[in-house]
């Protein structure tokens, strides 16, 4: 594990913490996109370029666009409601950094056995071969899930239009 990995992983944790702690939903979505972008870099470093490209285009791009468009369709809160909710939020969310620090200390001092048996190093195979030859049912599942999603969205928006 290199210093660059540690810096990237720390940035990922800080971005996820900011995503959860920030008050604005829009900032939260930007934090999520930032977390996703850091994960993309980590995936590239771990010899997984195809998964990284999917993560960057779909998770960082598409999901952020879906979230931002959903947030833009929702009416913002009034100043009075914001003040009331801010006090409530601080009460509920200040525990998170404390829990993370405690969990981090516990994990650091927890004695993980380093001699765990790993499976034998597999022969490197192309991801396209694995996806099309070994995991054909996964592709079928993906098609079914995508179709279900499309029909779901069509039905939901049809219902909204009717009202």
């Amino acid at each position: 594990m290199t210093l660059a990995d540690i810096i990237l992983l720390t940035a990922m944790v800080v971005a996820s913490l900011w995503t959860v702690m920030t008050r604005s939903l829009l900032k939260s979505t930007i934090g999520l996109a930032f977390t996703s972008a850091i994960i993309t870099i980590l995936m590239f470093r771990l010899n997984s370029p195809l998964a990284a490209v999917f993560e960057l285009s779909v998770c960082t791009g598409l999901i952020t666009a879906v979230f931002v468009s959903t947030i833009s369709l929702v009416k913002p809160l009034t100043h009075k409601e914001i003040v009331k909710l801010s006090k409530d939020r601080i009460k509920r969310f200040w525990y998170l950094p404390v829990i993370m620090v405690v969990a981090g200390l516990m994990l650091a001092f927890f004695n993980i056995p380093a001699d765990l048996k790993m499976p034998a190093k597999a022969m490197e195979s192309d991801v396209r071969n694995v996806l099309w030859n070994s995991r054909q049912i996964d592709i079928f599942g993906q098609i079914v899930v995508l179709l279900a999603g499309v029909f779901g969205i069509v039905l939901l928006f049809k219902e909204i239009k009717k009202r």
Binding site: L32, N47, L62, R135, Q142, G152
Partner: protein, 106 residues
């Protein structure tokens, strides 16, 4: 070699568990439906990275990538449909608070 790989895995797992805690806490504590979705997304991202690290450590990089691609496809469909449902709930109740969902049948 295996020892070095195991150290790499534990090092990554340490930070991934932190992200999992953040996502889980977000889902448990928040009352806003959009934030629940954001927490779920954080959990999925942590799992995605964990699969990639496991693939790298064990040498099954191609298999891990194919699993992650499937995971991302399912994730994006779940997020899009859930965002539509949340929007529908907002138009029905004029609120995103989970506590206000009392008009459900059953």
């Amino acid at each position: 070699m295996m020892g070095a790989n195991w150290h790499l895995f534990t090092g990554f797992a340490f930070f991934i568990i932190m992200v999992l805690i953040a996502g889980l806490y977000c889902i448990l504590v928040t009352r806003n439906l959009m934030r629940v979705l954001i927490g779920l997304e954080l959990l999925t991202k942590a799992v995605t990275l964990l699969i990639i690290v496991a693939g790298y450590v064990t040498g099954y990089v191609a298999l891990a990538q194919s699993l992650v691609i499937t995971l991302i496809i399912i994730e994006v469909v779940v997020m899009a449909v859930t965002a539509g449902i949340i929007l529908s709930i907002y138009r029905h109740n004029a609120s995103l608070a989970a506590a206000n969902l009392r008009s459900l049948k059953g």
